[in-house]
Symmetry: C2
Subunit: 502 residues, 2 copies
Amino acid sequence: MTISNNYQNLVKKLEEISHLNGVMCTLGWDQEVVMPTGAAEARAQQIAALAGVIHGRMTDAQLGECLSALQEEDGVFNAAQHCNIREAQRDFDLETKLPKQLVMEMAALGSRAHISWVKAREENKFSDFAPALKQFLELKKEWAQCAFPHLNPYDANIDNFERGTTVAEITPIFDRMKTELIPFIQSIRESELQPDVSFLQGSFPVAKQESLARKISQDIGFDFNRGRMDVSVHPFCGGSHPTDVRITTRYKEDNFVESLYAVIHETGHGLYEQGRMLEGRDLPVSQSLTMGIHESQSLFWERMIAQSKFFCAHYFETISASFPDNLRAQNHESLYQAINVCQPGYIRVEADELTYPLHVILRYEIEKGLFDGSMAVNDLPEIWNELMMKYLGIKPPTDALGVLQDSHWSGGAFGYFPSYTLGAIYACQFYRTLVSEMPDAESNIGAGNFAPIRSWLNERIHSQGRLYTPQQLVQSVTGETLNPNYFIEYLKKKYSEVYQLN
Amino acid sequence: MTISNNYQNLVKKLEEISHLNGVMCTLGWDQEVVMPTGAAEARAQQIAALAGVIHGRMTDAQLGECLSALQEEDGVFNAAQHCNIREAQRDFDLETKLPKQLVMEMAALGSRAHISWVKAREENKFSDFAPALKQFLELKKEWAQCAFPHLNPYDANIDNFERGTTVAEITPIFDRMKTELIPFIQSIRESELQPDVSFLQGSFPVAKQESLARKISQDIGFDFNRGRMDVSVHPFCGGSHPTDVRITTRYKEDNFVESLYAVIHETGHGLYEQGRMLEGRDLPVSQSLTMGIHESQSLFWERMIAQSKFFCAHYFETISASFPDNLRAQNHESLYQAINVCQPGYIRVEADELTYPLHVILRYEIEKGLFDGSMAVNDLPEIWNELMMKYLGIKPPTDALGVLQDSHWSGGAFGYFPSYTLGAIYACQFYRTLVSEMPDAESNIGAGNFAPIRSWLNERIHSQGRLYTPQQLVQSVTGETLNPNYFIEYLKKKYSEVYQLN
């Protein structure tokens, strides 16, 4: 089969864009991890210049002509080629359909809104952030109208992060989770038994934390010849290419669990990136699918694997050898209990796996309300606190610990939050399939033999790139559509045991 | 005074090019310091894509039109504006005058020649590298003809690194240095007194070396809020902007002098970059002038300052506190003697300040001979060894330790070597002026008070950017043209004392 000139031409253009995006990712990593503080202004200008170049390439008329020619062509393309054409067309449309004026307004507001959010959070004054939030809401409605005119505005914003997923799909899932989890969390709060977490307090030398985290990341399968691990203010997974994947964490002298589980989480993201299909690595077909699927991979390792009894059993000795003074009187059972404590708190990023979905649902409901007009920006602090009380039984003492805690809205990232919980549901559903197809999966975890599990994920998910929609992928991996029941069952079973309910 | 639209337009274009060049510099630093080994191929593609973008911007027809319009304009420009126009025109001509075919041939050969040089050096087989070297010589003659048709080919290649400097200027300087230095080095070799360097051998913990080097770099004036210090295979000074200057060094457990003086050397480069004029930092006028002037700044701090008695007197206690076991029986005098040992060796980059010029002169004479046809590539190993014997009294046992040691020719960088010694001469001449204008300069060094010296360099050199040619700059700073006598006098006086000659 000969490949058409148009297609070859498209590939060349897409590869160039991918190379330049890789450069942008290196700038981003550099800024978070190593850039001197004094370089911020110069870096912003460098990033703007490169962004301008990339935008120029993505909206190049020749790219549009090439895509048009391909649409009219009677070419025979395989699935990967079809995918590249489809994705390129989608990106081209997204970049070119937006009025330049709108793009510039969003960019300018992004910068201003972030500054106003930082200040408002510092000074605990929501009213200072409210005007920027209102403006962003309007711009994002306008954006939705241009980018996805066939969708309602909030669906369009969700689609931006979780392709093909809508309010109609999410709302019943989240409603069911509320019905099941709110009373369950309440019964945990009332439980007389509470796991002993006292031994997780103490002093844990950072060098020991670092080498422990590095060892476990490597055991799980992170390839340090094609990646790095560093320190940043917020843990993330970045890098410029599947051969250059960079995870970060942060260390606190008095808490080793946080850094270790952040590393495992980011390792999950990193394995997805390192595991992309070998062909077409600079083409859309090999790219990660959606935020939710990416999150399913990080949560798979962080929660399904590393918060399990099997994992604790395998690593207890290694961990207690790192911190002998602290863990002397413990065993793998008490470690398991301690890292699976459930404790409603104000802050989403510090939440355990049981309360986390309610943090997300709260935000989802607020975003939905803002987009459909049933909620007003000025009322958000009150709405937030009411919902926190209703869902988790606690009320934030300040807006900084409430409605002002996340940066997402200051960047206009409405529709992002659901991906976190969709990722958790995907992860659980994938895990259930894994265990049913690989009966020795859990004994493998207990033996520290992660290679078969990694291969399974790689074959089923990582290497599938963007060939399918998330809905098709879940169907193909698990044999059914997204099903929150498994996640709810998993949570109730696990935490009933930890807290000895019933 | 209103600034013409054409000029404003030019500034905008030059700033964009500068931002993109800054991005390229970040990629270069990343590659040398932190990039995972497995990412090499992807990085090469990313760099090529960005290089293509930058080349496109530099040869953009609109930039050419803008420059033409400025040439015809009757505008009133100040010195900085004149400089920006002049430099932009020069760069534009250099980028556009070259036939595309030649640019591509040079790029392709650069990659092939480097590989063949690495292999030839490993296998100590000059004949494997000779064909690539011959080709590069021909291409660089052709390049000279296109780029600087009014210059003879070797002068054109020198001009590429040391603007306005020619064989006619360099040869008498180098001849005079040979006449003076060759017999002087010979008498040092025959001297009965040889400084005790035994205490520089031993074990020097890397963490101690690192904190010592960082302290001294900071004392000298390197601003770590606008820069970093890291580790790489070869020390260098990189970074993307005057607010983002990155120096590197390498540590050997058994040698602290090498890492420390590499840091001081790179700090000198770094101060030049951090000290660029505050206006127009993304325009040519603020950029460093030439390789030789840059080297004058690194050598100024490494040699004129840090190899002086005053510096040793000030830092002896700090250094011996870092390595108490090794320096217990020493004092600042013996430290001074030991770091100023003169020892003819095969390798240029390991040479002391007295023998270094002869390494450079040897290479200069060979390059001159290759360009004027009086030497043939095939004869280079023999010529090299003969000259080494004549100049330094030693004969390399292998070509890897001789003609194959430097990477420069494998990249076609003919005409680069003279800059090292021109830099040393500039440094000495600048130092002489400093001391005459600032009588307490040396007592300031002895007191660790480097701020006045740094300010002097900043005012006279760093902040002058490209306003002047190197010749004009030397004249303006020192009141006379480049004069090698001061350097020769300095070397003979200093080393006569160290070796107690006469």
